[in-house]
């Protein structure tokens, strides 16, 4: 198509020239012109060949590798999470393999959780048991001490009773009086 288009105007040009110059010394030019068109097609051919080469799109003429360009920085900017050709929207899980994979992950997590819980509870139980035993021991030792003291006091009382049986009554009374006396004194409080 392009060559024809090119030839058209040239012909038109010829016509115009012939029409615009109808008179005066154009006879020689007129006579020359018929001979002129012959070389012109050759020129047109050369012209028509070059545009067809240029019209070929660049990606057909050479690949990107041929250009030996330095490769671009491949880092994706922070704002762009997805590549532009990625699937939009939700990704569904409907095949058994994917489900099983998710289930396996979940189960492993849960097993670990239960295991750790059990371990912790067992350890706590041990600690509690040890504490309980210790507390029991402490109570026992306290009780034993108390018993001993009681025994001691009893024995002391017996010894004292044996030593001064006859004046035990008045002595006891004195002791009670002595005990009562300071207490009463202590209780007496005056506010100004």
């Amino acid at each position: 198509m392009p060559p024809k288009a090119r030839t058209g105007p040239s012909k038109g040009g010829d016509k115009r020239s012939s029409s615009s110059k109808p008179s005066t010394s154009a006879s020689s030019s007129k006579s020359k012109k018929p001979s002129g068109p012959r070389p012109k097609p050759v020129q047109q051919k050369t012209k028509s060949k070059t545009p067809t080469l240029k019209k070929k799109p660049p990606h057909l003429r050479y690949t990107e590798k041929d250009l030996k360009l330095p490769s671009l920085n491949g880092i994706r900017p922070a704002g762009v999470q997805k590549p532009p050709n990625a699937k939009k929207g939700k990704t569904f899980v409907d095949d058994k393999e994917q489900m099983n994979a998710i289930l396996a992950i979940v189960m492993a997590e849960k097993e670990g959780n239960i295991e750790s819980k059990m371990m912790r509870s067992r350890q706590l139980e041990e600690v509690r048991e040890a504490r309980r035993i210790e507390a029991e021991k402490r109570v026992e030792s306290k009780k034993a001490g108390l018993e001993e003291r009681k025994k001691g006091i009893k024995e002391d009382g017996r010894k004292k009773g044996k030593g001064s049986r006859d004046d035990s009554g008045p002595a006891g009374a004195e002791v009670t009086q002595e005990k009562v006396g300071p207490r009463k004194l202590r209780k007496r409080v005056s506010f100004g």
Partner: protein
């Protein structure tokens, strides 16, 4: 109605795994005899489908049939397992009990005198426990059964088994989460969306 996304599947499975052991795998591999006649037709598998916010455990052939019903008109199909909350958590419904109970990892058996209090929405107290699984940790999902092995509901343990032994008879052993009494008590809201 659509299949679950990967995050939804994960939350669903983590919830189910609270109550079930390794046998949860069976939920995925379980098959039903094919409805279409013919010896060489493949058996039906079960799939999870989400409709509005509720998750259903459905036979695949049924799920495929249900695609011909508009979303607005589809009320329910298969077994409802529970619903996703607006915050993305999953809440199990009592309807999931039939799916959970056969695969339960830990169980608590309730004596006959404790059945009614539980079915009316009470927690399980120690005095009502007939027997329980050994080595149950604290706050672990359990399925509550009657003494004749009928599943009554599910809940979470309040104490570990070792601690619960030392508990007084009125002490709560299992916190109720769902019981079959809900079929009557929540009749109005259980299947509405």
């Amino acid at each position: 109605m659509r299949p679950l996304t990967d995050t939804e599947t994960k939350t669903l499975f983590t919830k189910l795994a609270n109550y079930t052991g390794r046998s949860l795998n069976n939920l995925l591999t379980d098959t039903a005899p094919s409805t279409t006649s013919g010896a060489n037709s493949t058996p039906d598998r079960y799939v999870f489908r989400i409709q509005k916010d509720r998750v259903y455990y459905v036979r695949e052939s049924l799920a495929n049939l249900a695609t011909s019903i508009a979303r607005d008109n589809l009320l329910s199909l298969g077994t409802c397992l529970g619903k996703f909350t607006k915050t993305g958590k999953f809440r199990l419904h009592i309807t999931a009990l039939d799916v959970l109970a056969p695969h339960a990892r830990y169980k608590v058996w309730v004596k006959a005198n404790g059945e009614m209090p539980f079915l009316y929405g009470g927690h399980v107290v120690k005095a009502h426990v007939g027997r329980w699984s050994e080595d149950v940790p604290e706050h672990q999902g359990v399925v509550v059964m009657s003494m004749n092995d009928t599943p009554l509901g599910f809940g979470v343990t309040a104490r570990s088994t070792a601690e619960a032994r030392r508990l007084d008879p009125t002490g709560i052993v299992t916190f109720r989460q769902a019981d079959v009494g809900e079929y009557l008590r929540e009749e109005d809201t259980l299947f509405t969306t």
